[in-house]
């Protein structure tokens, strides 16, 4: 069964995730600990990986940002057919996408990969895609996506969530409704609660 939630429903996933070929990489260590999060903006993808990435010939494809930036011309006809989505990881430089493609709405889907639950950069990235770069098609979170992020993801502009394979998407749907009236304005509802509702009538004794 599908583990994909889009627009508050479990739906089947008709996108094929395109990934970069794995390379043997030295594990970087810092202060005796394995680095779990790549430093911001660190370029860890080689030209060789990008060139060797296998792009399926047909169907809807979710292409890594780096591959898209380098091989954009081969994808032009498929973009016109609405067959190309873009995915990026939280440590990648988001601005490189709008810099290369001022109209992000040529993509029916943008997906953000979060390696670990605790990585809250995904929320700022979602917010920027919606509010700064005007993306208004499907925005998906995938990776270490569990139900307790969903409310925050939704408020940060996401409307699609691929729940980690070992968890139930059905149960996760519950968490989209965790809070009925959040305080602050965010992407899904830009008005803070005091502009959304009339709070002044709740008088002080």
């Amino acid at each position: 069964m599908s583990n994909l939630i889009t627009q508050n429903e479990i739906v089947s996933d008709d996108w094929t995730l395109v990934t970069l070929p794995k390379v043997d990489q030295e594990v970087r260590k810092q202060a005796g600990k394995v680095v779990l999060f790549k430093l911001t903006g660190e370029n860890t993808i080689s030209a060789e990986q990008i060139a060797n990435t296998q792009i399926p010939a047909t169907g809807k494809i979710l292409v890594p940002l780096s591959v898209y930036l380098a091989r954009k011309s081969e994808l032009a006809t498929r973009i016109a057919k609405q067959e190309v989505g873009i995915w990026l990881a939280t440590h990648e430089v988001l601005e490189s996408l709008p810099n290369a493609e001022p109209d992000l709405n040529i993509f029916p889907l943008i997906a953000v990969y979060v390696e670990r639950f605790a990585d809250g950069r995904i929320f700022s990235i979602g917010n920027l895609l919606r509010t700064r770069y005007g993306f208004n098609h499907t925005l998906r979170a995938f990776g270490d996506v569990l139900r307790d992020q969903l409310f925050f993801l939704k408020r940060s502009g996401f409307d699609s969530y691929l729940i980690r394979a070992d968890r139930s998407a059905q149960e996760a749907l519950q968490s989209l409704k965790d809070f009925s009236q959040p305080y602050q304005g965010a992407v899904d509802d830009k008005q803070p609660v005091w502009r959304r509702l009339n709070r002044s009538q709740n008088n002080v004794a």
Binding site: F117, G120, T131, L146, S156, Y183, G185, P192, V204
Partner: protein
């Protein structure tokens, strides 16, 4: 103080339901240890040495009598009959059971309380001056803004999982008592040249492993923009703060790495997009919140009270207490009172359920039903009539709440340390107790005068040792507990970080070491000079020489 409307109440009720389900999933093993950790931490639940620890939020330190009664009842019902007031103005329970924590939160919700964001990598409790609203030197009462910021930061979706914890403090006085310079964001409210409320914003302060005082990022911010400006600062931090190393993840490290000019440039660029967005605070919203903090219905009283003057004259003990525990008030005939949670020989900041009930009753009877928690870990009755002080003192004294040591050496700021905390390298409570016993002579204590002694059990610095006039840090050396001593730290407008005097000491040596520091001070001080002033004037060398000369010669003697 702020009272919930249906919106506030619904939010905490929904939080209880959400958290209850998270605990259920954890117990049912649907959530792993690692997955549950960030969830429980955002609700103030730590897994500690002996049991979980639950940190309950006391927003900007304000409590009602009703709330304190409830906290006392919870401590009795779910814990061992006491709680610990922390340097974040919060209350910590040391012995709750994990499976009881949803019920504890449900009980807290009935008195408009919660444990939301008291831990974890998110925006924490907003803190301020314990004399907010009553201090004679106050220019702006920042509580309404603190509440607006509290609401905005509660479940802020973009900042739910930051690189590290994030602390905001607000202050509106000439004399800073909220230590705004040691917060991730510090906001000082003032009136600008046009007599409008403005904010001076500091960023990147913090203690912990790398103590740094904050830097001014903006001299003048109109109050309407407080939230959007914070969004700009925290967005830059969320995207670019380090996530590879927890010890380098605070915003202070990012600010130092980029330099304040570059950091500020990035914040301003972000803010251009956010300024005037719907989170911009309106006059109407501020007014709605501010009506909860309007001045009480104070009586018109003369500046002097004859019964008070008579009590001072007849009781030396009462007189001594008023000198330390009674503070000026902006209204004639009223005073603020500090109830000491630092009786000699007890864990600093601890209060029993009985004491909490007593304080709640005192607040109800003498102080408009409200009280405050100070970051120095004492309780404050902010609005007591001069003529009621003697009655307050008698009752407080009967329950061990009137030790006349506020602001003195034994008013020690102290973290729970190795007795409770699994992060600690060393115990801190027994050190505090030993020092308190060493200086148990009140006359001597008063002669030494104002002195802040802060103890942390590890470099996370919950006991704020870096800004203590004397700071003590527990360190681990080859598996045993040692204590590093520093002097010359200070909070306030002229804040400074303390300097380490030399090699660490064993627990047994510590009271003697403090004694030696005091001896140097008493010998060197000039009239009216406090310990910190003497340290600043003569430097640490004479202190160092005296402390180590004696211990070295003793060691030599032992080798003879």
């Amino acid at each position: 103080m702020y009272k919930y409307d249906e919106i506030d109440q619904q939010l905490v009720d929904e939080r209880v339901a959400q958290y209850r389900d998270q605990v259920r999933r954890y117990i049912a093993k649907e959530l792993s240890e690692d997955e549950f950790r960030p969830l429980r931490l955002q609700n103030g639940l730590y897994i500690q040495r002996h049991a979980p620890m639950l940190r309950i939020a006391v927003p900007y330190g304000m409590l009602s009598s009703r709330q304190l009664h409830k906290l006392a009842d919870i401590a009795t019902k779910y814990d061992r009959g006491y709680g610990h007031f922390s340097t974040r103005q919060n209350l910590q329970l040391n012995w709750p059971k994990l499976e009881d924590t949803p019920d504890i939160l449900a009980e807290l919700a009935t008195v408009e309380m919660h444990a939301i964001q008291t831990s974890g990598n998110c925006i924490r409790n907003i803190t301020t001056d314990q004399f907010v609203g009553v201090a004679p030197d106050e220019i702006i009462d920042p509580r309404a803004m603190a509440e607006v910021i509290r609401q905005w930061s509660t479940f802020h979706p973009e900042f739910a999982l930051l690189p590290r914890k994030f602390k905001i403090a607000v202050s509106g006085t000439k004399q800073d008592r909220a230590v705004v310079q040691m917060h991730d964001i510090g906001m000082e409210f003032y009136r600008d040249t046009e007599n409008k409320v403005a904010i001076k914003v500091w960023v990147g302060g913090g203690l912990g492993r790398t103590p740094i005082l904050g830097t001014v990022i903006r001299e003048h911010l109109e109050w309407q923009h407080a939230l959007t400006y914070c969004e700009a600062v925290i967005r830059v931090y969320n995207l670019h703060g380090r996530r590879d190393n927890a010890y380098k993840a605070r915003i202070k490290i990012l600010v130092k790495a980029l330099g304040i000019d570059e950091f500020s440039k990035q914040v301003e660029a972000e803010w251009l997009h956010l300024k005037d967005s719907p989170n911009t605070i309106t006059e109407a919203e501020l007014a709605r919140v501010a009506q909860h903090f309007e001045a009480f219905d104070y009586a018109t009283l003369p500046a002097h009270d004859s019964s008070f003057d008579a009590a001072i004259a007849s009781s030396a003990a009462f007189n001594a207490w008023t000198k330390r525990s009674v503070h000026p008030h902006k209204i004639s005939g009223y005073r603020a009172v500090t109830l000491s949670l630092k009786p000699h020989g007890k864990a600093p900041g601890d209060a029993t359920s009985e004491q909490m009930h007593v304080v709640a009753d005192l607040a109800a009877e003498y102080s408009f039903g409200e009280l405050r928690v100070s970051h120095e870990q004492n309780l404050i009755l902010a609005d007591v009539k001069l003529s009621d002080l003697f009655a307050v003192w008698e009752k407080a004294r009967a329950y061990g709440l009137a030790t006349p040591n506020i602001g003195l050496l034994t008013d020690i700021i102290c973290c729970p340390g190795g007795d409770f905390c699994s992060l600690a390298n060393a115990k801190s409570i027994p050190i505090a107790q030993a020092i308190q016993m060493q200086f148990d002579n009140l006359d001597y204590l008063h002669d030494i005068g104002e002195l802040e002694l802060n103890i942390s059990g590890c470099m996370n610095a919950c006991g704020h040792h870096h800004v203590g006039h004397i700071g003590i840090l527990g360190v681990d050396k080859d598996g045993s507990e040692w204590y590093q001593v520093s002097i010359g730290g200070k909070q306030g407008n002229d804040a400074s970080l303390a300097t380490v005097i030399g090699r660490a000491f064993s627990a047994e040596e510590m009271p003697g070491v403090v004694q030696k520091l005091i001896e140097v001070y008493l010998k060197e001080r000039s009239d009216e000079e406090r310990f910190i002033d003497t340290v600043r004037r003569i430097g640490i060398a004479p202190f160092k020489a005296h402390v180590y000369a004696t211990t070295e010669s003793k060691n030599e003697a032992a080798h003879v």
